[in-house]
Amino acid sequence: MKKSYIFFVLLIATLILVVSFSSPVKSHLTSGSYTIFGRGLTVFSDLGKSFKDKITFIFHISDLKEQNNELTNKITQFQVDQSQINELEIENSLLEKELGFMGQSEKGTLIPAKIIEREPTSFLDYFIVDKGKNDNIVDGSAVIYNGVLVGQIKEVFDDHSKVVLITSKDSIVQVALQDCRAKGILKGGINGLFMENIVSDTDIKADEYIITSGLGGKMRAGILVGKAGKIQSNSSGIFKSIGVEPIVDLSTLELIFIEKK
């Protein structure tokens, strides 16, 4: 009994040491595990989601009527907006024709992807999606939900990829303020989202939209990121930073879209 016990303990301890101190081995093991158990992970993640949905539904059943009214109003508003957008698109295409700017659309193709694993510990803003190199996903691609940027691809494997959320301290995105066109860097962290490195004489409007600037070439320009919040730093410096209010609730993400380059 003693020998077999020591054998098992030593075997696992050796594996831990190998996994911890050899990055290629860890990478191969992680990738292999996701390849073998990827389907199982998807099934159990789906079960978890549907279970949570059912519980949430039961707890929020009383809010449904109120939400229904709100949504009806929003639909009406969206219909009005849509008609205005259609008008603007027509006007825009006419202007493009006149100016001779009829190049290819900058918009990339969106690939739908399912979240199959979340970081089991609470504070790291990473998750794994079921699309990888086989689906032509590349490192740095934008991850979008409802047309809003929620993260970017951090690591790509054959049939899955690791996504870092914009709220993560490891995330850096090149952004711009939509109206005043000032450029900056979007950073996540413990105190929330911030747009930093904005030239101090920039006049920022309240609730101004923040979009990707396209600088750095990793993702295209014009993807909505959030709204401008409070100015954080003293305007007497060279740069100032502002708080950014996310438009999407990042804790409820399930199906996201990855922009194919």
Partner: protein, 165 residues
Amino acid sequence: MIYFKYSTLIIVSFILSFLDISFFSFLGVYGATILSSFIFVIIYSFADKTKKDYLIISLSLVLFFSIFSSLPLFPILFNFFLIPSVITYIRKYYLPEPSLIVSIIYFLLATLLFEGLLLIYDKAWNSAGFLTFSWFIFINTLLGLFAYAFYLKIRKRFKTFEIKL
């Protein structure tokens, strides 16, 4: 038989860590999720008669979380190896077997240390971080308590059955 026992413990550890990163990771409250593998290893360190088999589970969990999680080795070792080892040590020399009431203190302290380390490691000492921290302790202590009560009930029934025989 011993090989079968240890292999079973490793497989159970794998299944629980697999459930933690898939099924339970979607059942979060304010970012706090159920960590069934942690609850399992804590209960096993209470209940393990040999006072050393828990090490197989503990090390297996360290291995699986090293593979699946982005966390470095130190916090994983601390949470899945050191905490159960300390519980086993206390059991061995001070409190032979915790009652249901005493187990609450164990679960509270274990989950507090577990999430506290992650809170410090990720420097997440803001209101959202503390909310997650509190919910993690509450959820996992409560579930740990239920699981331990269930284990005690099953064991009691099994013992009665043995005596009757």
